[in-house]
């Protein structure tokens, strides 16, 4: 049982006021907390609107954890087998292939074929520094450039690192938030077993979602976990990486919820962008702790709600256009995918930060 502290709620409504889903969808987090206090029935579809951005929990003046309460509600649906089909598919795929898309586990490391050098298995490295790819980075044709790019950047900076290849399993961040705690535990134990077997000392996670799970939800591994932007920022600071080519662009940075508001990593990506000559860094009206969620977290990558409404990603793209940005840059694969849909439609460019690094570094 999670300690969600729902009984201490005073119904102030700050959670609903902060929620990226409230007002435009039937989802009202304050009402759900109220129902939970009185054990009221909760309609099937409602809990699946939550994007796990965590804003409600971060802002609650009474330290209630509504976003954790959602996980508890979802767990009950999961245990009853009563969940949306696409979520079910993602869970079953993860059970069999260790990734929600059901792609072959044996092909998890195929992205390395795009490199002109080999990456050793982490067990064969001296530093025992692991590059942890996200499932979406390993398989999705749009996102595969991220591990490829970061591997090149790290190599160029002389950083020794390795991978787990097909032994790597989904981190389980979204699986836990979908409410499948048993499967999350399986994934966690499997990955922790690999970390232990190969003596992993440090993990560079490519996705903020993986970083969050590995850092905060894997229970005392004693392993240092960083997001790749932190590692790259350090390399820029100590001069190991020098963005040589100018990049004359107006860039607006989108904070991913799991990197920014939930793990307070706001500056590393911005500092990397500022270190590139010619970049004009712009800010959304809602930035840093107030950043607007792309709606890709908490299982929403695998499930589309019934309600028709203006998606937050479209709000972001329209603001970027109004700010006369040349492109939106982000550091999370889910944000990238969600922002790119409306951006393609409206003629805006969305890039993952690593894509810009590949353009400005002579690797």
């Amino acid at each position: 049982m999670l300690n969600t502290r729902v009984m201490t709620c005073i119904q102030c409504g700050k959670c609903t006021g902060s929620c990226p889903e409230s007002g435009k969808t039937p989802f009202n987090i304050r009402t759900l907390v109220r129902k939970r206090q009185f054990d009221g029935a909760i309609a099937d579809g409602l809990p699946w609107y939550c994007t796990s951005c965590g804003t409600c929990t971060l802002r609650c003046p009474r330290d209630v954890k509504p976003s954790e309460m959602i996980i508890e509600i979802r767990s009950a649906f999961v245990e009853n087998g009563d969940i949306p089909t696409t979520i079910q598919k993602a869970l079953e795929n993860t059970f069999v292939q260790r990734n929600p898309w059901g792609r072959s586990r044996n092909r998890r490391a195929e992205w390395v074929d795009k490199l002109d050098f080999e990456i050793p298995h982490v067990g064969d490295t001296t530093a025992k520094r692991l590059l942890f790819t996200c499932c979406i980075h390993a398989y999705d044709p749009r996102c595969i450039v991220v591990p490829v790019g970061i591997a090149r950047v790290l190599k160029a900076a002389g950083v020794e690192f390795g991978i787990l290849g097909e032994e790597e399993a989904c981190c389980g961040n979204e699986i836990r938030r979908i409410g499948e705690s048993g499967l999350f535990e399986e994934l966690r134990d499997e990955n922790k077993g690999s970390f232990e077997e190969y003596g992993v000392k440090e993990i560079i996670a490519l996705s903020p979602h993986c970083m969050n799970a590995l850092k905060n939800e894997y229970e005392q591994t004693g392993i240092k976990v960083v997001h790749y932007t932190e590692a790259i920022h350090d390399l820029v600071k100590d001069g190991s990486l020098v963005p040589a080519k100018p990049y004359e662009k107006r860039i607006i940075y989108h904070d991913p919820c799991f990197l920014g508001k939930q793990n307070k990593i706001f500056d590393s990506p911005r500092e990397i962008l500022r270190s590139i000559q010619g970049v004009t860094l712009l800010e959304f009206s809602r930035n840093r702790e107030n950043s607007l969620c792309c709606e890709g977290g908490g299982g929403r990558m695998f499930f589309d709600v019934d309600t028709v409404y203006q998606r937050n990603s479209e709000v972001r793209v329209l603001e970027a256009i109004e700010m006369e940005a040349d492109m939106i840059v982000t550091t999370c694969p889910f944000c990238l995918m969600n922002l790119e849909d409306p951006a393609n439609e409206k003629g805006m460019v969305v890039k993952e930060l690593s894509e810009i690094l590949m353009e400005v570094l002579e690797t």
Partner: protein, 259 residues
């Protein structure tokens, strides 16, 4: 209503490029994950839904190696009361032999049933024959491609079979009977890991397969595994997305698809 459901553990091979080894005698499955045969999951779900509405019990039966216990655990987590594993020392591919083992097992162990469900076929061997042969051996009626069970009465049932051309056929079968359950008949429920853990505490019964086979030669043997012949006519478009799209447009124009 007592329903027996045959459930098979199969390799999850859709996403794999399987490798033939041993000079065509074997397929390398060492790194392939296994799962419940997709059609069998629908069969278990259908059986469980029936007994949830009426009386009786679902028994899941697997003919296979020790590892097949995992599909029994899943079936029990879905709502089956019992799980029986008929443990075989070697893989049985011949559908006649599989059906004969199933038949002998049911008879020897005097397992009561009103209906027996199999999936229409198994994902690995795809003979689609075990249910039909089992029905013949038991001398009971059989229907395959069952996409709906409309009525269950004392002594008979009405089912719908899925046909080509958008048609369905409603047939009446006397009980007991064997049904080949088609995927899409329902949405199999999600079984959580916690659910499977709880199901693991319910004891499954293990039987030695050797007791249900007379050792006679299989009527079908795998001669060798082959890759399909590579066809010509496919072209890989090189270059970045822009270049590849330009080439594609040129081809479409050349072939008269796009003016």
């Amino acid at each position: 209503m007592n329903i027996l459901v045959f459930t098979k553990r199969v390799p999850a091979a859709q996403e794999e490029e399987l490798k033939i080894t041993g000079d065509g005698k074997d397929v390398d499955l060492t790194k392939i994950p296994f799962k419940i045969n997709d059609w069998d999951a629908y069969a278990v779900e259908e059986a469980v839904r029936i007994v949830e509405k009426s009386e009786g019990a679902v028994t899941s039966i697997a003919i296979g190696d020790k590892e097949s216990d995992e599909v029994l655990r899943r079936a029990v987590a879905m709502g089956a009361k019992d799980g029986f594993l008929v443990e075989m020392e070697q893989v049985v591919q011949d559908p006649f032999e599989r059906a004969r083992i199933a038949h002998t097992f049911i008879q020897k162990e005097s397992i009561p049933f009103d209906m027996i469900f199999t999936g229409v076929q198994s994902e690995d061997d795809q003979f689609g024959a075990v249910g039909a042969i089992l029905a013949a051996l038991l001398k009971v009626p059989f229907a395959s491609m069952v996409i709906a069970i409309d009525e269950i009465e004392k002594g008979h049932i009405m089912v719908r079979r899925e046909l080509e051309g958008g048609l369905q056929e409603r047939v009446k079968l006397t009980l007991p009977c064997v049904l080949g359950i088609q995927s899409g008949i329902n949405e199999p429920r999600y079984v959580s890991i916690m659910g499977i853990r709880k199901a693991s505490k319910i004891e499954r019964k293990f039987f030695s397969g050797a007791n249900y086979t007379d050792g006679s030669a299989h009527m079908i043997e795998v001669n060798r595994w082959l890759y399909p012949a590579q066809k010509e006519g496919a072209a890989m478009l090189e270059g970045d997305v822009g270049q590849a799209c330009s080439k594609l447009l040129a081809i479409l124009k050349e072939k008269g698809v796009r003016q």
